[in-house]
Amino acid sequence: MTIEEFVAARLPALLRYAVLLTGDAELARDLVQDVLARAIPRWKRIAALDEPYAYVRAMVTNEYLSLLRRRRLRTVPLTYEALDGPHAPTTSDPADRIERAELWRWLAILPRKQHAVMVLRYYEGLTDNEIADVLGCRASTVRSYAARALATLRVSLAQRATSESGAS
């Protein structure tokens, strides 16, 4: 498989994964581009792997984590108003926009590894062992990250439900 064939087949998936990590389309694009630049010189070896996509996805994950190590990402929780700004993508359904804003607000407050675990588990559909391979940790650590992240989410959802019932 040439890198052109790989990109033609897998680039959209990589970009979707990256945007879930970064919450920012431009940053996701830069991140994937940078990873591909590093993959180009070693493509022969990557293409010989059973799962080139898994390898490149792991590179994207590590790049995201090291990006955070190098400089703190400005992950601003988006509000409904911000999503409605001139450059924000819009859909015809405002409920969708509210949901995206909430999802990102929740993902953004998670510590970086918990964030990555959530995306790998619920978006990429990986098992805990596979996530452990990507992150270079034990499966029990992955389960711990996931449990803490889900607890945070449940608290957020409960708080929202309380505030909505209070408002009505």
Partner: protein
């Protein structure tokens, strides 16, 4: 999303809507890879050069003899194009014609004028891979140019803050910007079309751009001598109309940073070499002062006096005018102590000239 079970679907929808377009990502990655490889190569070359230079110094110190260190190897030139090479053109026989074209720094440019019945006009800029800040474009709207995705922005920076501002205007708040359409080429270069009346005008001109051709900047003169260290920072050529041709090499100093500054680069560079076709207007500058100077058999004039008039001699500057065939070569310097009369005379003595009114006879000015 009301409970955790809905997380996968929420992520799916979020990613599908917010994921960026993948157009140009691989090309950009290749450009980054090339840049890194070049940097690594330069670093390796430098390391070798330092080592090579260091050995004779060490030997001379230990033996007490004095040897000149060998010159460091020249750094590899960028792979995309040579400094006076062009990779952009307009499609022949289309609605726009080249009025002016050239290069400045990492940018090639064409100013197009209407031709025929269609009124496409504007400026085409091509940035070498990795040299354009693409953020204004990527944040803009997507449009189509010849079946490919391009980006439309109204905030393309064309000049530094306050450029061209009247003294009475309010203080500048940012760079001068203009509407533009841009897209990445497979090579990693970015094409930017700007300077048209509106988006339709930009798109009409964009349809006429052809990239990937290779040609050289040409001029009605060829120079076999330039002062040591003199590097061309920009070239500006007008040869579409035989009644008014002009070609300028701006030499020395930093290349212009923006499109607007590039249009006056000739007037600021330490050494400018300009050729125009001899017309009544051009000759009128010298009609009252017959030449008393001959260089390589050509009537010549040497100006150091900053009298008001069209010559615009800079402080400490000077100009050497030479009539050769139907061309007038105008060499001007910002500081005559840096580029002396003898150096300029040597440039003229090593020059050959073509027909200034026939662009088809022009040749690469250097090399």
């Amino acid at each position: 999303m009301t409970n955790v079970d809905q997380l996968p679907q929420a992520m799916e929808r979020y990613a599908a809507v917010l994921a960026p377009d993948g157009h140009g990502v691989l090309e950009g990655a290749r450009a980054i890879h090339r840049r890194r490889r070049r940097r690594a190569s330069i670093a390796a070359t430098t390391a070798v050069a330092v080592l090579v230079a260091g050995v004779p110094v060490l030997i001379s110190r230990t033996t007490g003899t004095s040897h000149g260190a060998p010159a460091a190897s020249k750094a590899p030139t960028p792979a995309y194009r040579q400094p006076l090479e062009l990779t952009v053109d307009l499609l022949p026989g289309q609605s726009a014609a080249k009025m002016v074209y050239g290069v400045y720094g990492h940018v090639q440019f064409i100013t197009a004028r209407p031709a025929g019945t269609v009124t496409s006009f504007g400026d085409v800029l091509v940035y070498d891979p990795g040299t354009l800040d693409t953020k204004p474009f990527l944040a803009g709207d997507k449009v189509q140019v010849r079946g490919h995705v391009a980006y439309h922005t109204t905030t393309f920076p064309v000049g530094p803050p306050g450029y061209g501002r009247l003294p009475t205007s309010p203080p500048p708040t940012g760079p001068v910007t203009d509407e533009a359409v841009g897209w990445p080429d497979a090579s990693g270069a970015w094409v930017v079309v700007t300077g048209a009346l509106n988006l339709n005008g930009l798109l009409a001109l964009a349809e006429n751009v052809r990239l990937g051709v290779s040609s050289r900047v040409v001029a009605p003169f060829h120079l076999s001598y330039l002062p040591p260290g003199a590097q061309v920072n920009s070239a500006w050529i007008r040869n579409g109309d035989p009644t008014l041709t002009e070609s300028v090499l701006a030499i020395g100093g930093e290349p212009p940073a923006t499109w607007m500054e590039s249009q006056t680069a000739c007037c600021r560079a330490p050494l400018n070499i300009r050729a125009v076709n001899l017309t009544d207007i051009v000759e009128s500058y010298q009609k009252d002062t017959p030449s008393t100077l001959k260089i390589a058999g050509h009537d010549s004039w040497w100006y150091t006096d900053r009298k008001p008039g069209p010559l615009m001699i800079r402080p400490n500057g000077a100009s050497l005018f030479v009539n050769a065939g139907n061309c007038q070569l105008q060499i001007s310097v910002g500081d005559v102590r840096q580029y002396t009369f003898d150096e300029l005379k040597r440039i003229v003595e090593g020059a050959t000239f073509k027909d200034c009114t026939k662009g088809s006879t022009w040749v690469p000015p250097l090399g």
